[in-house]
C-alpha cells in the first residue's frame, strides 16, 4: 500500500489551498499525524492545550460545559481546522473538543506556529488570513444559529 508523506497529506487539505509550496513545506516540517478514538476528548474546556489541528477524517464535536450539562455547539470534520485560538497565545480553551468517531488529524505546535509567523511575516499574513476564514465561518454559523430560523412563527412573530 502506498504511504503518503505528511507533506502530501497536507497538500490535499483545503486549509492550505493557495499557500506557496515553501509555506506548505514549512508547515509539513512541524506537523505530527495524530489519531483519536471515538468519544476521546481532544482537549478540555479550560485546557492550556497548545495544539492546532487540521482534521483529515472523522467528526469532532465542539462542546461547552457547565456543571451537570454539556451543550454541543458545532461539529467539525474532514477539511476543517480545529484549535485556531492557539494563535492568540497561551490561554484556556473556551470549548472542549470530542471525537464523535475515530479521528485522524495533523497537529501543529501553537508556539512554533506563532514563532514562524513572527519570523516570516509573509507566511504569517497568509496563515492568519486562512485562520480568519475559519473564524469568520464559525462566527457566521454562530450568528445563524442565534437567529433560530426554524422556530415556529405566527403572524411574523416567534412563538
Amino acid at each position: 500500500m502506498e504511504t503518503k508523506t505528511i507533506a502530501e497529506v497536507l497538500r490535499e487539505h483545503p486549509f492550505v489551498t493557495g499557500l506557496k509550496e515553501s509555506y506548505i513545506h514549512k508547515l509539513a516540517e512541524m506537523a505530527l499525524e495524530v489519531q483519536f478514538a471515538k468519544d476521546q476528548l481532544i482537549f478540555r474546556q479550560g485546557d492550556e492545550s497548545g495544539l492546532f489541528y487540521l482534521v483529515l477524517s472523522g467528526k469532532v464535536a465542539l462542546e461547552a460545559t457547565a456543571p451537570g450539562r454539556i451543550s454541543r455547539i458545532q461539529t467539525v470534520g474532514e477539511t476543517d481546522a480545529l484549535g485556531w485560538s492557539v494563535m492568540l497565545g497561551p490561554g484556556g480553551k473556551t470549548f472542549q473538543a470530542r471525537a464523535l468517531e475515530p479521528v485522524r488529524a495533523l497537529a501543529f505546535d501553537g508556539a512554533r506556529l506563532r514563532q514562524l509567523c513572527e519570523q516570516d511575516p509573509g507566511f504569517g499574513f497568509q496563515f492568519t488570513r486562512k485562520l480568519l476564514h475559519v473564524v469568520s465561518e464559525r462566527l457566521q454559523a454562530a450568528r445563524m444559529q442565534l437567529l433560530d430560523i426554524y422556530a415556529p412563527r405566527t403572524g411574523g412573530k416567534l412563538v
Binding site: 483545503p14 467528526k59 464535536a61 462542546e63 454539556i70 451543550s71 454541543r72 455547539i73 458545532q74 461539529t75 470534520g77 474532514e78 477539511t79 476543517d80 464523535l100 468517531e101 465561518e137 457566521q140 454559523a141 445563524m144 444559529q145 437567529l147 433560530d148 430560523i149 426554524y150 422556530a151 415556529p152 412563527r153 405566527t154 412563538v159
Partner: protein, 283 residues
C-alpha cells in the same frame, strides 16, 4: 339504532372532496397526511414542487406543499407543521375525515432541465417536504441524473423529518445525504451547525449541477451565497418561495412579491428571476 350516513359535503367550484386515509406523526409538531379520493374520481396528478389548497371544514383553507411520490397516483401526501389554528385542525383530523382539495397549483422543480446533471438539494426544516417529491422523482429515474446530494438542516434532532428515508437514501449509490441540526444533544452523533456548514463536505461540479433550495427565506439567502461562492451560476439555482397564499390563482394579490404572484408564478422560481426582489425587506 341506525348508523348515521355522512354524505360528501357541498363544495365550492373547483374543489374536490378527499378523505384522510392516514395521519402519520413525523415529529412533535409535524404530521404527514395521506389523502384519498372520496368517490371514484381520482385526485389530480401533480408535479414535484406544486402545492394544494386544503380546506378544513369550519376552520379555513391552507396552502400546503405536496410531499408525496408523483408516481403514486390516486392519492395526495402533504406534510404539515402545526403552528396555528388551521394547521392544528388539519393535523388533528382522523382517518375518514373529509377535506376539500383545490389544485395542484404553481410551478414545479426543474427536473427535466436537471437530467444528465448532478442534483444538489438543500433543505431547511419543513422545507424538505416539497423537495421530497423531487427526490422521489430523481430516484425513480435514477439513470437520468448523475449524483444526488441532499443537505438538510433542522433545529434539533427531534425536528428532523423523514429520518428513516434520509438514512435509506444515504445508502444508495451516487447519493450523498448529510444532515445537521442547530442544537444537538450529547446523544446526537451527527453534524451540529447550520446547513451551510455542510457545503465543505460535498464536492461540487459547478457547471454540471442544478441546485434546488427550500427553507426559511433567510436560510435560502445564506445557501445561495455558499452556492455562488462555489461557482454555480444563478441560472442553475432554483428556490421554493413561501408567501401568504389565499386564492392560489394570482387573483387576490396576497402573495405578491415584486412583479410575481408566488401562487401562480411560483412557488418554484429560478433564482435569476427572483434575485432583485429577494433582499428587499418590504417584500
Amino acid at each position: 339504532m341506525t348508523a348515521a350516513v355522512v354524505s360528501a359535503p357541498v363544495l365550492p367550484p373547483a374543489m374536490t372532496a378527499a378523505r384522510v386515509a392516514s395521519v402519520m406523526k413525523e415529529t412533535h409538531d409535524t404530521f404527514t397526511l395521506c389523502l384519498e379520493p372520496a368517490e371514484s374520481e381520482p385526485l389530480p396528478a401533480f408535479a414535484p414542487g406544486q402545492f394544494s389548497m386544503l380546506y378544513v371544514f369550519g376552520v379555513g383553507e391552507l396552502p400546503i406543499s405536496i410531499s408525496g411520490d408523483p408516481h403514486e397516483p390516486g392519492r395526495l401526501v402533504h406534510t404539515v407543521r402545526s403552528v396555528g389554528k388551521a394547521t392544528n385542525a388539519l393535523v388533528n383530523l382522523k382517518p375518514g375525515a373529509w377535506v376539500g382539495v383545490r389544485g395542484p397549483f404553481g410551478t414545479s422543480w426543474p427536473l427535466e432541465a436537471a437530467r444528465g446533471r448532478d442534483v444538489l438539494i438543500v433543505a431547511g426544516g419543513i422545507g424538505l417536504a416539497p423537495l421530497r417529491s423531487a427526490i422521489h422523482e430523481v430516484l425513480r429515474h435514477r439513470d437520468d441524473y448523475v449524483r444526488l446530494m441532499v443537505l438538510y438542516g433542522a433545529r434539533s434532532p427531534k425536528d428532523l423529518l423523514y429520518r428513516r428515508q434520509l438514512a435509506d437514501w444515504g445508502r444508495l449509490a451516487d447519493t450523498q445525504v448529510l444532515t445537521t441540526v442547530d442544537y444537538g444533544g450529547v446523544n446526537w452523533r451527527g453534524y451540529v451547525g447550520v446547513v451551510t456548514t455542510l457545503f465543505r463536505y460535498v464536492r461540487l461540479h459547478p457547471a454540471g449541477t442544478t441546485v434546488m433550495i427550500c427553507g426559511p427565506e433567510i436560510m435560502m439567502r445564506y445557501v445561495i451565497r455558499e452556492v455562488e461562492k462555489r461557482g454555480i451560476p444563478p441560472e442553475q439555482i432554483y428556490l421554493s418561495m413561501e408567501r401568504n397564499m389565499k386564492c392560489a390563482v394570482g387573483f387576490c394579490g396576497h402573495c405578491q412579491m415584486g412583479p410575481y404572484f408566488v401562487c401562480k408564478d411560483g412557488p418554484i422560481f429560478a433564482y435569476e428571476r427572483l434575485r432583485p426582489w429577494l433582499e428587499k425587506y418590504e417584500l
